[in-house]
């Protein structure tokens, strides 16, 4: 019969129309912005820099606890080249307690960033992670979208809030690294003590940590592959 197929289709739309008054399955939208759906744990928008809060009263706490050591790997690997880093002249202790450089300038142009999270993947220091904040509109096209290091710095607690599983895995990984680093320094100290008993101590002991840190940084630059491959990025989904 001509028109049968049309009636069949219209019965389908009628079913859906009536269903939208009764069935919760048919209500597929929410009234944004009054109602919001919580973002998924794996969701990613733009990167931010993680810092370990040490003294919340200190206004420069974000800089003291910043994990970034300005190794500039993310700057090199970023596909649209939206990261700008300047290395500091002096050093401060990093997350593992080693003396490291820190970013004197760390800018991300989020009008260029394409949220690919390659910076997160290549970072050997667990310093840069993806945020879930997406309501970032501003009336300043250039300055407002060029985030500096202070705007980018978010605490580790915040990271735990937005990516709980992933952050827990990262904390474990860092704790492991810290234990290893401590074991290494103890071993070095013991070896030094033994050597010290035999021969006079070296003339310039202040340079040893710096050289150590530099060699560490260069090692990270040349061969961080195994490190990154093992890292449990985005374990939670």
């Amino acid at each position: 019969m001509l028109g049968e197929g049309m009636l069949k289709g219209m019965a389908e739309t009628a079913k859906n129309f009536v269903g939208s008054f009764f069935s919760a399955k048919r209500l597929t939208t929410v009234q944004y912005p009054e109602e919001r759906i919580a973002p998924f744990e794996a969701a990613r928008v733009f990167p931010f820099l993680v810092y370990d809060a040490k003294n919340p009263a200190d206004p420069a706490d974000w800089l003291v606890g910043m994990r970034c050591v300005a190794c500039q790997i993310c700057e090199k690997e970023c596909p649209p080249k939206c990261i700008f880093i300047e290395k500091s002249k002096d050093k401060k202790p990093d997350a593992l307690g080693k003396q490291q450089f820190y970013p004197a300038r760390f800018d991300i142009d989020i009008s260029v960033c394409m949220s690919c999270q390659i910076c997160v993947e290549v970072c050997p220091f667990e310093a840069i992670k993806m945020d879930t904040e997406f309501e970032l509109s501003t009336d300043d096209r250039f300055g407002g979208l060029l985030l500096d290091r202070e705007q980018l710095a978010k605490s580790n607690e915040y990271y735990h809030q937005i990516h709980a599983t992933e952050a827990a895995a990262v904390d474990d990984h860092l704790a492991e690294g810290k234990v290893k680093a401590e074991a290494k320094t103890t071993a070095v100290a013991i070896a030094g003590a033994i050597r010290g008993a035999e021969v006079p101590p070296p003339a310039k002991p202040a340079e040893t940590p710096a050289a150590d840190a530099a060699s560490e940084a260069s090692a990270a630059r040349t061969a961080p592959v195994t490190k990154t491959a093992k890292r449990p990025t985005g374990a939670g989904n």
Binding site: F40, M114, C116, V122
Partner: protein, 399 residues
């Protein structure tokens, strides 16, 4: 030309195709010959053009005498950019080719690089690729049918039905990869993140719901008389022309040519799954619509098998490099059956950190080249329809 094997079946075989000869019209109408032509520029801001695309159409009354496709408005220099950045850095750019199906773009690129380096992919990663690839195919076909019907004038309803389902699939993508569309998921030698058991459960539930949706969608559309009247006998593509023009994907199969790269190449692990390749027998817009509907069913079949069989294990070859990736000099062409046709990446490596040559074979662009042949002699209103049935994404056409 038309070969059939045990894996393929025509539309008529697979389903009672509700085709009424009553609505068929002659495929080609002779020009009236009074010599007066009207030239119309459809696009680049025409609502039917799926983006910025222009068709310069010469009309004799209502009939199309000449059609010239003009593309390039969305050119973003993708291939040249890829020759300047590392292999890994091109991966997120491939998401932006055919932005309806980013997973398959990732897959084709990863496959090409894996061919170049001889990199093996772990079992579980192959399964994850198939699962995500077939989900992509499903949502692409659903939304492309929705767009096709919208171009017929049914503004909204079928498209919203398709998008409701697409939303569930995009939620799955976001849960796993972190992004709805710009997934950046595959890596050379595996995938970026593993799927948790919770994700697998949600995926199984979603796939179970897809059958229901396919039933609903078919009840809504396939036997609709208006749809048949508008699409049957319109925009016929002969199999000889389709093969000669290099047309691939649902377009080619709607013309009756049995060519599916999943069957021909058996890339990945597609030889393990039991599925059939639907073939059309008229090569008109209705067949293209029907092929997509049936392929959605086949995708569900593959998804069910893959979700049942997926093994545990690593998702990334531990020896695979992420940074400092420098393949040996050589060349490779990796191709997959993307939802729109054969998507291939051709790479030449000179041993450096970025490819010497990076070339994409986009299905949308090549399927679009025979637009004029399909449109000649048709009414101008059908041009929109024929164009919609090609199923293109301008991000891929212009790159």
């Amino acid at each position: 030309m038309t070969e059939f094997n045990s894996h393929s079946a025509t539309v008529a075989e697979m389903q009672e195709s509700p085709r009424s000869e009553h609505w068929n019209r002659p495929a080609h109408i002779e020009p009236s010959g009074d010599g007066e032509l009207l030239e119309v520029a459809m696009g680049p801001h025409h609502p039917s053009t799926h983006g910025v695309f222009r068709m310069d159409v010469a009309l004799d009354g209502e009939r199309v005498i000449r059609l010239r496709p003009v593309f390039g408005y969305l050119h973003r220099n993708h291939e040249k950019i890829a020759e300047g950045v590392s292999y890994l850095a091109s991966m997120p750019y491939t998401d932006r080719l055919d932005y309806i199906c980013p997973i398959t773009n990732n897959w084709a690129y990863a496959l090409a690089v894996e061919k170049l380096t001889g990199q093996a992919v772990p079992e579980r990663a192959e399964y994850l690729r198939v699962i995500l690839g077939e989900l992509t195919r499903f949502q692409n076909h659903a939304s492309s049918i929705g767009f096709l019907i919208q171009e017929m004038g049914a503004s909204g309803t079928p498209l919203m039905y398709a998008f409701r389902e697409r939303e569930k699939i995009l939620d799955l993508f976001e849960k796993l990869t972190g992004a709805r569309m710009m997934v950046n998921y595959m890596r050379f030698g595996g995938c970026r993140v593993d799927a948790s058991p919770a994700w697998m459960n949600v995926a199984r539930k979603t796939v179970a719901g897809l059958t229901e949706f396919a039933d609903e969608f078919e009840r809504l559309l396939t036997s609709n008389e208006i749809l048949m009247a508008r699409t049957q006998g319109v925009g016929i593509l002969k199999p000889e022309l389709a093969v000669n023009a290099g047309v691939t994907g649902p377009m080619l199969r709607a013309s009756g040519v049995n060519y599916d790269i999943r069957k021909v190449d058996n890339y990945g692990i597609y030889d393990r799954f039991d599925f059939r390749v639907p073939l059309g027998d008229h090569g008109d817009v209705y067949d293209r619509f029907m092929i997509r509907t049936l392929e959605m069913r086949e995708s569900i079949k593959i998804l069910q098998q893959a979700l049942k069989d997926i093994p545990d294990g690593p998702i990334m070859d531990p020896k695979a490099k992420i940074r400092g990736f420098r393949p040996k000099p050589g060349e490779a062409y990796g191709r997959i059956e993307a939802p729109k046709g054969e998507l291939g990446f051709y790479l030449i490596s000179d041993g450096g950190p970025s490819p010497y040559r990076y070339r994409i074979r986009p299905p949308s662009l090549i399927n679009l080249t025979i637009l004029e042949d399909m449109c000649l002699g048709q009414n101008v209103a059908d041009v929109v329809l024929i164009f919609g049935s090609v199923d293109i994404v301008l991000g891929e056409v212009d790159r």
